[in-house]
Symmetry: D2
Subunit: 91 residues, 4 copies
């Protein structure tokens, strides 16, 4: 990853860690379970934003390099990887 | 929440906090972005498991109480809440 | 289902059938695959709207009846069913 | 699309049209709404399989061509398109 992406992703993840600690506090304080679920939805959303940033970076760099390579096996392995990532990391 | 649910959820969230810290380490060590995305997928999966546990608890307790109440407005508010939670917290 | 819900759902499904026929035409006319995918996303969206309408109806009628019944086994079977439906029919 | 992909996709879509007609029959026969929702989940699944087949084709052909082109604007437009498709067509 380039410096900018890495810093963005690191900042987002630090915020997500804070959100997860917030969730633990909510549970310890016995907050209404619907509110805890709503907060879980926010963490999913924040993780998805990280996933999107990484996926864009992955397309622009790793995938592009593999697809431009002269070795067709490399491009093929990248198509497989992209399909797998899309279906598990993107939600 | 009853004691058992609260402890289960607390344990799961502590594990998720650890996973998010693991993600931060992966980024700091400049690991391959596809591996970071795969790890993000695991965190989504673990959060979903918490969401499922809370949703089940919510149905069995809060929703049941509201639906059994004599006040139709309470049942109606619960249908609205369940629909909203289902579509944002369950994924 | 009551008459109103059944008619709404029937209308939506007829429209979805039309969308799926539209997709077949797009493929027969060899349209750009990204446009076909975008159209597939619209069909998912339309199906989700039907799912939402049915889920709301299910909560208000079938689930409410089971949860209000004097037989705890009936309520329990409904919690199981709701959890399963939520995770497969709601997306 | 090449001939093989087009035929596969056409066959899948014809089957999906049949499933949607089956859904309309279920509603006309006033079947249990949970069973209708389960059947809706099958249609989502079948549509996702078409989406996957198209996405793979799109990566191998359209995306590869754009990414290999000498015009950086073309690759960039493809990254945008892939990100959008991933988040709306793949679910």
């Amino acid at each position: 990853m380039n410096e900018e992406t890495r810093e963005n992703v690191a900042k987002r993840l630090a915020r997500i860690e804070g959100q997860v600690r917030g969730l633990q506090r909510m549970v310890a304080e016995d907050r209404y379970c619907a509110d805890v679920m709503t907060q879980i939805a926010s963490v999913h959303e924040a993780l998805r934003a990280v996933g999107r940033e990484l996926m864009r970076h992955h397309l622009e760099h790793c995938a592009t390099e593999a697809i431009r390579s002269d070795d067709p096996a490399q491009a093929n392995a990248m198509y497989d990887e992209l399909m797998a990532l899309m279906y598990k990391a993107v939600r």
